[in-house]
């Protein structure tokens, strides 16, 4: 069972997302802030991380950077999910090591497509 970590503070996003992924038989953990997210990633060692940018305590870019600096977590693909649409924001996400960038609003199919891409490659 593939493990997905969602680092997102919006509970109304987390709810359907978690529900959908669990129905698709993923193992899902959720973190509501950046610092807790990093901690959870190191403990849980997910196969993929869905990461929001605007987060309490630590923003998504810093979270991503921190994860990519650690030997254990640096190879976990980071998928940004954000409402930020400006080019510079998207560019920054890739600069800090993000693999994908899904702009909100998205639908569950968008998530499924990206996850499939990473898990089928293996």
């Amino acid at each position: 069972m593939k493990k997905v970590l969602i680092i997102e503070d919006e509970k109304n996003i987390v709810l359907p997302l978690k529900m959908f992924l669990m129905k698709k038989e993923y193992d899902v953990r959720v973190s509501r802030d950046g610092i807790e997210g990093i901690k959870l990633a190191q403990e849980y060692m997910p196969d993929i991380i869905l990461l929001d940018i605007l987060l309490p305590k630590m923003n998504g870019y810093l979270v991503c950077e921190a994860l990519k600096e650690e030997m254990d977590t640096k190879n976990i693909p980071v998928i940004f999910i954000s409402a930020k649409t400006q080019e510079k924001d998207i560019k920054k996400a890739f600069e800090v090591g993000g693999q994908e960038y899904i702009i909100k609003p998205f639908v569950h199919e968008d998530i499924e497509k990206v996850l499939k891409k990473y898990f089928e490659e293996e």
Binding site: N12, I13, L17, M19, F20, A83, K104, P105, F106, E109
Partner: protein
């Protein structure tokens, strides 16, 4: 009032006329005198000369008659003698009637006495001949008759001579008169001319000199010196004119003073207005020298009006961008499509100020350019408001995204039955939620795009592209939808069409929008969408035509405005955001192109837009 120039001129002319008339009369008098002297010769002397000659002739004939009586005893001789006696007496009488010369009377008296004796002796001769014989008669003739005859003849001749001499004398007199007349007439004529000239010069100086003076002063007045006064002397027309002139200059002076006051007032008013205007104003003349800078412009440019006045624009105001507009406005007559206003940013201390620069030419009555007014409208506030607006739109659209995600995803999951089975009614409701969620999503992203395009935040990524590739890329997603609606999409592009300067994604977006609209408005079954490309000298024209119901004229004008949507047959919105064409317009305009529509209700719509052709590489 003594109109003395008129009087003087009249008198002078009358004087000249009198002199001329006198001269003429003098000439006439001289002609008459000449005529008289000739007449005199004819009357007095000529008649006497003729009479004397005839008297001599008559005497000689009488003498011949005597001789022929004596020697030939001619019977006729007596008759001839008597006849000639009569003639002699007649001519003598005529001569006596015409005594003109001094001594003439004595001569005639002598002739008369001599002739009386001659006649008496003739009769004595005849008597002697008949009584004493031819011999005695002959002696008598030679001693008494012949000397008397000779004497008479001599006297007659002296009469003739007297008169002839008189004639010569008279002729000489006439010649003298004629000569005198010529000289005197010439002299008078000369004097007349001289007098006339003197008078003319006098008049000229009397009239022209004051007029010259007047001209000088009027010239000075026309140059603006109203203090000119003329001397008023005498009471002729010139001095009348001079005093009227002086009155006029006085009036002009006071009028000017009044005008100057009024102008000063107006000027102060205008200056106060110009100074109080919050937009910067710079006035330059035709040589680009600064004529006026108001307070707002002083502040904006960091200059002082006093220091920059009459200096060249670039020398003091080192804003080449503004100067470029001023320069190009001057040449506007030739080229029409120049930018006449731009936005510039100036540093004012720490903060940045934004200005909209607008240049307007000042033209005189003939339309020639005499200067420029440069307006600097402070648009810093506008810019700030604009920034606030984009920030607002950006924030709002950002804030919308998260709820839109959860609503959309939740509805989607419910619809797919992931959280349990749903009824048909529930499905329908969820579909409505999902559809409107989709619309909201589009609206949010369109709003954001438009706001960025309007604020110029989105840079066009211009490169050279084959327009066919852009069209194909844009149309591709529609083929299935078109097939479902049984609508044909045809692309009609020439093979050797030039490449266009375009941002691939943005122009693709425009085409997607236009084709999507076309598809939305074409009827089910039999719909037709044609995309055509035409090439002109420097542009490419792209047309998207449909055979839908067309767009009413009142909509055509505002269809490119925000939130304008044409309702479908059922009077419902067709699912668009109302921003697609507004965005398309922004994109095309950012490419330097135009976009417009031609449509007739019932006959479909044709959307056109233009793009520049890239220079051939």
């Amino acid at each position: 009032m003594g109109k003395s120039i008129k009087f003087k001129m009249t008198s002078i002319f009358i004087l000249i006329f009198i002199v001329l008339a006198a001269n003429s009369m003098w000439s006439v008098f001289n002609f008459n005198k000449l005529n008289n002297s000739i007449e005199e010769i004819m009357e007095s002397n000529y008649a006497s000369v003729v009479a004397a000659q005839n008297m001599v002739v008559a005497l000689e004939r009488q003498d011949s008659a005597e001789l022929s009586h004596m020697f030939a005893d001619d019977k006729n001789s007596q008759e001839i003698f008597l006849e000639n006696e009569k003639k002699f007496l007649m001519w003598l009488a005529r001569a006596e009637d015409n005594i003109t010369e001094h001594g003439e009377e004595e001569i005639l008296e002598g002739i008369n006495n001599l002739y009386t004796q001659y006649i008496e002796r003739y009769y004595s001769l005849i008597e002697i001949q008949s009584s004493e014989g031819i011999e005695e008669a002959r002696n008598y003739y030679y001693n008494d008759v012949l000397p008397l005859f000779e004497e008479s003849k001599e006297e007659a001749r002296s009469l003739q001579e007297l008169n002839q001499n008189s004639m010569i004398e008279q002729r000489n007199e006439a010649q003298r008169i004629a000569e005198n007349a010529s000289y005197s007439t010439l002299l008078i004529a000369f004097l007349t001319i001289l007098l006339g000239l003197i008078l003319v010069f006098y008049l000229m100086s009397k009239i022209v000199k004051p007029i010259d003076n007047l001209i000088d002063k009027i010239k000075k007045i026309s140059e603006g010196d109203y203090s000119q006064q003329l001397d008023v002397t005498g009471d002729d027309e010139i001095s009348e004119l001079a005093s009227e002139f002086n009155i006029m200059t006085e009036k002009l002076k006071s009028y000017e003073l009044l005008n100057v006051r009024r102008l000063m007032k107006e000027k102060k008013k205008a200056e106060a207005i110009v100074e109080s205007i919050s937009d910067g104003i710079i006035v330059t003349d035709e040589d680009n020298k600064i004529l006026l800078v108001n307070r707002a412009a002083e502040k904006a440019l960091g200059i002082k009006e006093k220091e920059v006045i009459n200096k060249h624009f670039l020398e003091e105001i080192k804003e080449e961008e503004i100067f470029k507009i001023i320069k190009s406005m001057k040449e506007k007559n030739k080229i029409n499509n120049i930018k006449k206003n731009i936005n510039i940013t100036l540093k004012s201390g720490e903060e940045l100020k934004h200005y909209n620069i607008n240049v307007k030419p000042i033209r005189d009555k003939d339309g020639t350019n005499v200067g420029m007014v440069t307006l600097m409208q402070d648009i810093t506030k506008l810019k700030e408001v604009d920034q606030m607006k984009s920030d607002f739109v950006s924030t709002v659209s950002h804030e919308f995204r998260t709820p839109l995600t959860s609503i959309g995803m939740s509805a989607g999951l419910l619809l797919e039955g992931i959280s349990g089975d749903i009824t048909e009614d529930q499905k329908e409701l969820l579909e409505a939620i999902k559809e409107d969620n989709e619309r909201l999503k589009n609206l949010v992203s369109d709003l954001l795009d438009l706001s960025r395009l309007e604020s110029g935040k989105i840079q066009m990524d211009i490169a050279l592209y084959d327009i066919r590739k852009i069209i194909q890329h844009a149309v591709k997603p529609f083929y299935r939808q078109a097939e479902d609606k049984n609508t044909s999409i045809s692309i009609n592009v020439n093979d050797n069409v030039s490449k266009v300067k375009a941002d691939f994604n943005k122009i693709s977006w425009v085409l997607t929008n236009l084709v999507g609209n076309a598809l939305r408005y074409t009827p089910e079954n039999g719909g037709k969408i044609e995309i055509e490309v035409k090439e002109t000298a420097n542009k490419i024209l792209v047309a998207v035509k449909d055979n839908g119901k067309g767009i009413p004229e009142e909509f055509q004008k505002k269809i490119f405005e925000k939130f304008v949507q044409v309702k479908d047959e059922k009077g419902e919105n067709t699912g668009g955001t109302g921003l697609g064409l507004a965005i398309s317009k922004e994109i095309v305009n950012a490419h330097g192109g135009d976009i417009w529509i031609e449509s007739e209700p019932g006959n479909g719509s044709k959307f056109y837009f233009t793009l520049y052709i890239g220079s051939k590489l």
